[in-house]
């Protein structure tokens, strides 16, 4: 850790604006919290008296639960608000909602929203710290951080790794956070997927866009598979899931091209048999459940840091 380091982020809106030192500091903090979840009494008083609101405009069981467990293990009071995005069209705008919630003086608002940039907008209208729990097709910073934590745990480093990301890069906010995070930490990122799901500009970011699965996966240290988002198929992006499974699905054979000690990762929930075959998902190299465990630790660290505790 650089001496004189100061965690200066009021909000956690994206990975893009986190420096390598920030990421390192968050992960180190998360590692120190991980042990709490292994205790028989899984609770510390660190955030006692803090009010945390889970504001979810888009359904998500996993992320919401992970944040809620993280908050409760630190003794914060948590409240869940689920609102459908369409309720805003009935009159109340996101800013109205923000002002109303803000009037109740919460310390942290965790926002999940189907529109990219919604957490940025919210952060301009509330006194609370805002944590982005996934916005549109933009970013999902806590997921990116838990992915990096999982890789660091197993590989003991985050630099000089080959990270292969396979599948729907276009719609995956997880992929966007992972790409920015792993590049920032000094690793190489290779992506492969159907041309309809590869967004423009990846090369300029420093990503290698591959034309074959083999090119992406060969000698990879990490093989990250993304969820095919069935709900996004109104645009003719794919002819069929059957063909997707054949052309872009990660099978045992594909996984064998990676390094023998490569990690198999997936942000979940998995479409088994489409983007990832069950034998690979449940095989010895899979760290998918470690990702979930580390998710709680990373979120504890974020809650702790945005309330200003990191610099005491």
């Amino acid at each position: 850790m650089t001496t004189g380091y100061f965690f200066s982020h009021r909000h956690i809106l994206d990975i893009e604006h986190l420096s390598a030192d920030d990421i390192d500091y968050i992960l180190t903090t998360a590692e120190s919290f991980k042990e709490i979840s292994a205790r028989s009494i899984k609770k510390v008083p660190t955030l006692r008296g803090n009010t945390i609101i889970n504001l979810f405009f888009e359904p998500s069981t996993r992320t919401r639960l992970s944040f809620e467990i993280a908050a409760k293990r630190m003794s914060a009071d948590t409240f869940n608000i689920s609102a459908s995005t369409s309720s805003a069209t009935k009159g109340e705008t996101l800013i109205d909602t923000a002002r109303n919630i803000s009037a109740m003086n919460p310390d942290i608002i965790i926002l999940r929203h189907s529109f990219s940039g919604a957490p940025h907008l919210l952060s301009q209208y509330v006194d609370a710290a805002v944590i982005n729990a996934g916005d549109g097709t933009h970013e999902h910073p806590s997921q990116g951080l838990l992915d990096m934590m999982t890789v660091r745990e197993h590989k003991k480093r985050l630099n000089d790794l080959k990270i292969a990301i396979i599948g729907d890069i276009l719609h995956s906010r997880v992929a966007h956070s992972d790409i920015l995070g792993f590049l920032r930490m000094g690793s190489e990122v290779f992506v492969y997927g159907p041309g309809t799901l590869i967004p423009p500009g990846l090369k300029e970011l420093g990503v290698t866009v591959c034309s074959t699965m083999k090119e992406a996966v060969e000698d990879a240290d990490v093989l990250m598979t993304l969820r095919i988002q069935k709900e996004r198929q109104n645009d003719p992006l794919l002819p069929s899931f059957r063909e997707y499974a054949t052309e872009y699905g990660v099978t045992a054979k594909v996984a064998s091209w990676a390094r023998p000690d490569a990690l198999i990762m997936h942000p979940g929930p998995i479409n088994r048999g489409i983007e990832l075959m069950p034998d690979v998902a449940d095989g010895p190299q899979s760290v998918i459940l470690d990702q979930v465990t580390n998710g709680v630790a990373v979120r504890m660290a974020l809650l702790y840091l945005v309330t200003g505790n990191g610099n005491k």
Partner: protein, 426 residues
């Protein structure tokens, strides 16, 4: 109004008469007079303006604005919009028909013109090509022309049906009306910003430049095969500029406009989810911006128009996906365009052609000249005056500008419409 107005010691830039010299300009009874011979006897009744260090040019004409009246007067109305025009140095504007109701009938055209009688700028209504701009049946071009419409456009919406566009070009020619194309292929344009690295970074759905260029080429192909003329609105990208350039070289009767934001900003302006940088067509890349500047320099573009699109804070202070498209532009067009002269892209004559002479010719309206006897629409510009554009200064009812807080240089100090001073910079 005093019967006579003498603008002293200004640099007269009058491309229509290839004039560029320092001298006085005399206005008598709302018309340009010969200052050597026509000085009236009662000299005390002459109001004088000192234009030393300033340019005196034919009144600026913005051929593409949205005035929001009728229907959305909370955003802008004809009086507030023309006040903004006058403040920006414009003596005339052409207003697009996407009002509520759409200007697709005599009644709406007449209403607009009657409101404009008290306005601070001349208002030239552009009527819709199709009824309710729905793209299925033509409006009554003859009656619209007879009641004051100068051009036709379904602006805001593309004309999807190529056959309808063909018929519009043919029938408009019979009535001496210009057809203005909002060039957009709808199946490619269901995004919210330019498609590229910035849209990827922000996770926003992109619109490729092809969405515009495909339609620009359709309009060129129709104009070319029919021998009719067409005007392309708000060109944003390199590919469209190249299509227009080569069509003009072949003799196709196509004219085109671009807007100050396309030669000033890029899609980087959207960073931070700035809804004041959300517009359609969207801000493009640096390469496109350079191509637009090149197109202004080499005559590919005939006019600079603002696409002045006022929206209230309710329409902009929301998630980026939900925000309305468009920015105001009447008060920033001149300073942003003057930067092209300072940066050596254009000379002064060429700039005034783009902002006044050509829009008048394309629309077929009076203006764009300081000839003796011409209607005295005149703009006096201090090209060096530096200022910071702040929200308090905005004359338009809406404040949706990406240039708020920017340091700009050059602005209108007097705007004169038919001999009446409609704007004085205090």
């Amino acid at each position: 109004m005093p019967a006579s107005l003498l603008i002293k010691n200004g640099r007269i830039i009058d491309p229509a008469n290839t004039v560029d010299c320092v001298r006085d300009l005399l206005i008598v009874d709302g018309r340009i007079a010969d200052s050597a011979t026509a000085l009236p006897a009662g000299a005390s009744e002459i109001e004088e303006i000192d234009a030393s260090g300033c340019w005196v040019v034919p009144g600026l004409i913005d051929m593409h604005v949205h005035l929001r009246e009728p229907g959305e007067e909370y955003k802008e109305d004809i009086l507030s919009g023309t006040r903004a025009a006058a403040a920006g140095g414009f003596t005339a504007v052409a207003c697009m028909p996407n009002t509520k109701p759409v200007n697709d009938s005599r009644a709406v055209t007449v209403l607009i013109l009657s409101q404009a009688e008290k306005a601070d700028a001349r208002v030239y209504p552009v009527a819709a090509i199709s009824q309710n701009s729905q793209g299925s049946a033509l409006t009554e071009f003859g009656e619209l022309r007879a009641n004051g419409a100068v051009a036709l456009s379904d602006d805001g919406l593309p004309v999807r049906d190529s056959q309808l566009m063909r018929r519009a070009l043919e029938y408009a020619a019979d009535h001496g009306l210009l057809v203005i194309s909002h060039s957009e292929e709808p199946s490619l344009s269901n995004g919210v910003m330019n498609e590229g690295i910035v849209s990827t970074r922000l996770g926003l759905k992109g619109i490729p430049t092809a969405a515009e260029s495909i339609m620009v080429y359709r309009e060129i192909a129709l104009a070319e095969c029919l021998g009719k003329r067409v005007h392309i609105a708000h060109v944003s990208c390199a590919m469209s500029a190249e299509l227009i350039r080569s069509a003009k070289a072949r003799g196709v009767r196509v004219t085109a406009e671009t807007a100050p934001h396309y030669f000033t900003l890029t899609d980087e302006a959207v960073t931070g989810y700035n809804t004041n940088a959300k517009m359609n067509p969207p801000l493009r890349t640096e390469q496109d911006r350079q191509a637009i500047r090149q197109g202004l320099a080499d005559g590919t573009f005939d006019a600079i128009a603002t696409d002045h699109a006022p929206h209230s804070i309710l329409d902009k202070e929301v998630e980026f996906d939900r925000a309305m498209n468009g920015i105001i532009g009447l008060e920033t067009s001149l300073p942003l365009s003057l930067a092209l002269v300072r940066e050596g892209v254009l000379d002064e004559q060429k700039l005034i052609e783009l902002l006044s002479v050509n829009p008048a010719h394309i629309l077929g309206v009076e203006g764009g000249t300081l000839s003796v006897g011409a209607r005295a629409d005149v703009t006096v510009i201090d090209p060096d005056l530096a200022f910071t554009y702040t929200e308090e200064q905005v004359v338009s009812k809406s404040k949706n500008s990406p240039f708020l807080g920017e340091k700009l240089q050059g602005r209108a100090v007097y705007t004169i419409m038919g001999g009446r001073i409609t704007h004085t910079l205090s």
